[in-house]
């Protein structure tokens, strides 16, 4: 699972780099536009450790943001699962708000909270929150009739049991959504760092962008990709472990 994710990323990254070099040598572009392989390698070796630290900084914000999102999504999803007026309001609100590009709100957040940790965290959490919420609401509001029927007709179906049954029956779906939302959380944090932060890999990419240094940008993308692949692989592995442990 973990290795497969890394292989997949390496294949995509190498294909992208190969296409860039094809473009460079095909159109005879200078090293200022697309760096040569040796320059790319040298930059990668020089910046690797620093970018690893930056990505770790970004990832830590993304992970905390994702955890907050998952917790909130489950709370709201559980409240919104019922066909009551509260549930209907929650569902309608979730579907409507998620249609709005949350990243467009980032400038307001930076104005209100400044360009520190909290603003990055909030943007990361907001970006990955709604996809998780929609999945959780979908899972939680869909009865597993064949299992729930007995408990319902004998008066034993408390909300905790209902949530447990629905989560267990849809564990694969929930694990996939949570693993997928890691990308969104990371993207959210990087976008926040592009806009106004003073730390993280997004901030480093912004500096490289101002210097038109594609070698640095490509090196940063490599570290981001590898880190995210490992993180997603770990999430899937944890999901599989939870499922295995829960079933025995």
């Amino acid at each position: 699972m973990l290795l497969r994710r890394i292989y997949q990323f390496l294949i995509i990254y190498c294909t992208g780099i190969a296409l860039l070099f094809l473009l460079k040598y095909g159109l005879q572009l200078s090293d200022y536009v697309i760096p040569s392989p040796s320059e790319l390698w040298q930059t990668g070796c020089t910046e690797f450790v620093r970018y690893c630290k930056d990505v770790a900084d970004t990832l830590s914000v993304a992970v905390i943001g994702q955890i907050i999102s998952v917790i909130f999504a489950f709370i709201v999803g559980i409240v919104g699962r019922k066909a009551t007026w509260v549930g209907s309001i929650v569902k309608v609100a979730a579907y409507n708000v998620q249609a709005y590009p949350i990243v467009a709100l980032a400038p307001i957040i930076f104005i209100l909270l400044g360009d520190g940790f909290l603003a990055r965290l909030l943007i990361a959490a907001m970006i990955c929150y709604f996809p998780i919420l929609l999945s959780v609401i979908g899972v939680m509001s869909e009865p597993v009739v064949d299992i729930e029927h007995f408990y319902r007709c004998t008066g034993r179906l408390r909300w905790q049991l209902e949530v447990k049954i629905r989560a267990f029956e849809n564990l694969n779906k929930l694990t996939t959504v949570i693993a997928g939302s890691a990308t969104l959380a990371m993207a959210g944090t990087i976008v926040a760092e592009f806009i106004a932060a003073n730390a993280g890999i997004g901030y480093s990419i912004r500096i490289a962008l101002y210097q038109s240094d594609l070698a640095r940008i490509l090196s940063a993308l490599f570290v981001i990709g590898i880190t995210l692949s490992v993180y997603q692989g770990l999430l899937e592995w944890a999901g599989a472990l939870i499922k295995k442990g829960w079933e025995t």
Binding site: D146, I147, H149, F150, Y151, C153, T154, R156, K164, I165, F168, W246, E247, T248
Partner: protein, 233 residues
């Protein structure tokens, strides 16, 4: 105790034809009774209507259902599942009232399920799943239990043994058995409510079954009741 339906009509919203039309029958005493008829005749709908399993049924049904002083009416069916996160024994322990623990153990033995208790539900055969499901309903406090194909995928001999034991253990309860097994219904059930196509009137006919109780011989051969059932359906 009495279970009766009078002029019962049921037409699902968005359906052009009713499922039940002017249906009337009466079951006067507890015991094992049957709902019999072709697929789609309305057996499950009728059973769910009687047990109150159809939400907002008063909006699309009419007629009268009398349940006497019966309080708990349960409907069980053959595709029900137990949660998969722990073994069968754990689930059964949790849903069995303290006063019925011995009864639960007896039923497990009678139904031949001792070896399944440590397994999760999804590792059992279809017949085992159905028997486990029936056990958990039988240990509840009920006045009427509908068993909708509850012994499907169970071999003939075990099924016969289970039916006879249920009849012995629950002589004072209403048990409504839905099955397509003609011989079984004719042989073991007391009153058999035969549901016919909705276009035919009366839509249901009550046939007296053999109500076989083990070794005692039946008053008449089951073939005669079977013929009656086939003609009625």
């Amino acid at each position: 105790m009495l279970l009766s339906c009078h002029n019962l009509t049921l037409k699902y919203p968005h359906n052009s034809r009713p499922v039940l039309d002017n249906l009337s029958f009466k079951i006067t005493k507890p015991g094992l009774h049957a709902l019999f008829g072709h697929s789609g005749a309305g057996k499950t709908s009728l059973a769910r209507l009687i047990t109150g399993e159809l939400p907002d049924s008063d909006k699309f049904s009419s007629g009268e259902i009398k349940i006497g002083n019966m309080k708990t009416l349960l409907y069980s069916y053959n595709t029900e599942r137990l949660p998969g996160w722990s073994a069968i024994s754990h689930h059964l322990d949790k849903i069995t009232p303290a006063s019925r623990k011995t009864q639960k153990d007896d039923l497990i033995t009678l139904f031949g399920l001792e070896t399944c208790m440590d397994q999760p539900f999804n590792r059992l055969s279809l017949g085992q799943k159905n028997r486990i499901n029936l056990v958990r309903y039988l240990v509840q406090d009920f006045d009427l239990l509908v068993m909708d194909e509850s012994l499907a995928n169970v071999d003939e001999r075990t099924r016969e043994k289970i039916i006879l034991n249920i009849k012995t253990l629950y002589p004072d309860r209403f048990l409504l058995y839905i099955s397509h097994n003609l011989l079984e219904v004719a042989k073991f059930c007391d009153q058999i409510i035969v549901l016919r196509a909705v276009t035919r009137q009366p839509q249901c006919i009550v046939v007296r079954g053999q109500d076989h109780r083990g070794r005692q011989s039946a008053a008449q051969p089951p073939e005669r009741t079977m013929l009656e059932l086939m003609n009625a359906a």
